[in-house]
């Protein structure tokens, strides 16, 4: 058993060390979403009232869960993009010729990504009481659980892409064409209700919609506010678990079949 966990632990640990030695990463993963939140949130606060939501929220409050999810997404992207270069020249080459199964390499990288996402996610949870969201122990614990699931699937989604890419430019292209749109269409900046039906369908098929719904539900558990227009907490969490398993399987398969 030791022989399997030791490599996973060491790959996880490397991700953490690297992160803290690259200060710019911490800044860029948190600062950009926060800036979005302050600028877009303040700009739209007066003119935009989310329709179909069961409680009257200010836009900054509506936008807040979306921003936390964006931080999770950015963290996953920054944690996985290094795979592109390290696989061809540098550190990962050594890992690939070591007697370590690919699934454990991917698991180590994923656990690293989750830890980094959680550190930043929990920091951001500190903002919730400031903007008037009442969070108690149950809210916090459930929200952290949901964040783990979202970070797990984002990191694996990042790995799934990064293990295939030959250049970081390619990764950036995928990021703008796929990763950002799935965040935009998850209910992060506008709710599903009131969108044209084709868009509503896209949003309903988007797994991150359920991640965000689970996040909203869990954040307001202690405030006893329910969101009837969203998929229920149970269904959302179920979708998140399925999506996490799918992305992990995809990432392991990609890492196992890639040569070079």
């Amino acid at each position: 058993m030791l022989s399997v966990w030791l490599p996973i632990r060491t790959i996880w640990w490397r991700e953490i060390i690297r992160f803290f030695r690259q200060r710019s990463r911490l800044l860029s993963a948190i600062a950009q979403p926060l800036l979005f939140w302050i600028l877009i949130g303040s700009g739209l606060n007066e003119s935009f009232k989310p329709t179909g939501t069961s409680n009257q929220q200010a836009y900054t409050e509506y936008f807040y869960p979306g921003i936390v999810v964006l931080v999770l997404l950015f963290t996953a992207i920054f944690a996985t993009i290094s795979v592109v270069n390290e696989r061809r020249e540098g550190f990962l080459q050594n890992v690939l010729v070591a007697p370590v199964p690919r699934w454990s390499i991917v698991l180590g990288q994923t656990l690293g990504g989750i830890t980094l996402a959680l550190i930043q996610g929990v920091l951001l949870l500190g903002i919730a009481p400031i903007i008037g969201i009442k969070v108690g122990l149950i809210s916090i614990l459930t929200t952290i659980g949901v964040m783990i699931l979202i970070a797990f699937s984002f990191t694996n989604l990042g790995l799934l892409i990064a293990w295939r890419m030959d250049s970081t430019q390619g990764f950036h292209a995928i990021m703008s064409l796929i990763l950002m749109p799935i965040w935009l269409l998850s209910g992060a900046i506008f709710p599903l209700a009131g969108t044209p039906s084709w868009l509503a369908w896209v949003m309903k098929l988007n797994p991150i919609t359920y991640g965000l719904a689970a996040f909203r539900h869990s954040l307001y558990l202690d405030s006893h506010i329910t969101f009837t227009e969203l998929p229920t907490l149970m269904i959302s969490i179920l979708v998140c678990i399925v999506f996490s398993l799918l992305t992990y399987t995809g990432a392991v398969l990609t890492a196992s079949t890639q040569q070079l």
Partner: protein, 307 residues
């Protein structure tokens, strides 16, 4: 196939789609010897390295490492080989010590054994005082030493290196070459490296010359050079074409022309040079002769200049 043949490459062929990168290659490497694969860019040595380091599977043929088949027993082979890549496989944000610990953990080495092994290797490569330095602050030569220490951490039974001296200056290169020879004899392991540098290949026990995916010659540097009879004469001239034809007609020698130079193998070089300088007084800019080098062997075997 004696017990001492630790790397056995048998009829190895590799194609990328329709392009043939390796064409029916066979050779052995024994314990205690440093074997180099010498070839210019595109000769197939990187492909061969990728196969030996278990990163790609060959189209056909097989490789046995200590009797384990590379195609079917990858995991067993991975435990046995130490690999050094062209670009140091180090995490530049980690310290020397952290890099080594990480490597140890990948190979399942536990704390106490790992600590002892790290101290031993840091001493061997004379980098103990740099162990807490972040790798990106180290020079190319030092990085290479850390890289070597890392590859040896799990006591591999076979060491393979891809262009280990690329980016190193000549002094460090000679040091590296000595290190590898000592290592091969002390640990009694076979070491295989790829290189495009003639001086590096000269320093190895045996050399295999690769050209366009074929192994065109194999032997000790001296054996290879003895295939050339006598000396090599180099003549520089503005009118190589006519000069080459004239010399071929007049003497019974093989003439290879490259750019503004002619290369001729002959036994009585000093008399030959005297004769042709007299015979073609205005056509020769410079003439010199010397003992053959591996570059001459390469030209003889392939008909192309080594570059």
């Amino acid at each position: 196939m004696g017990e001492h043949k630790r790397i056995v490459v048998d009829c190895l062929t590799h194609n990328y789609n329709t392009r043939c990168a390796l064409d029916n290659i066979s050779f052995n490497v024994a314990s205690g010897e440093v074997f180099s694969l010498l070839g210019p860019n595109g000769s197939g040595k990187t492909t061969l390295f990728k196969i030996l380091s278990t990163r790609i599977s060959p189209t056909s043929g097989n490789v046995k490492i200590l009797g384990f088949d590379l195609n079917t027993q990858k995991k067993a082979v991975r435990k046995l080989i130490g690999v050094v890549f062209q670009n140091p496989g180090l995490d530049t944000k980690l310290t020397v010590n952290e890099n080594l610990r990480h490597q140890g953990h990948l190979y399942g080495i536990n704390s106490k054994n790992l600590n002892n092994r790290i101290v031993e290797l840091l001493d061997r490569f004379d980098i103990a005082d740099r162990k807490n330095d972040i790798v990106e602050e180290l020079s190319g030569g030092l990085k290479r030493r850390v890289d070597l220490a890392k590859a040896l951490l799990h006591k591999p039974k076979v060491l393979i290196l891809d262009e280990p001296s690329s980016g190193l200056d000549i002094g460090v290169r000679i040091q590296l070459s000595q290190h590898l020879k000592e290592l091969a004899t002390q640990e009694n392991i076979p070491i295989l490296l790829t290189t495009h540098l003639l001086d590096e290949a000269e320093g190895c026990n045996r050399v295999g010359i690769l050209d366009k995916g074929r192994l065109v010659a194999i032997g000790t540097p001296d054996q290879l050079k003895s295939e050339i009879s006598g000396d090599v004469v180099i003549i520089e001239s503005e009118s190589c074409q006519t000069l080459a034809e004239g010399i071929k007609d007049r003497y019974d020698v093989q003439v290879v022309s490259e750019d503004n130079r002619l290369r001729i193998e002959t036994t009585n070089a000093h008399e030959f040079v005297r004769d042709i300088v007299t015979a073609y007084p205005n056509k020769i800019k410079a003439a010199r002769f010397g003992k053959p080098t591996l570059a001459d062997v390469f030209i003889k075997m392939t008909g192309n200049a080594f570059d």
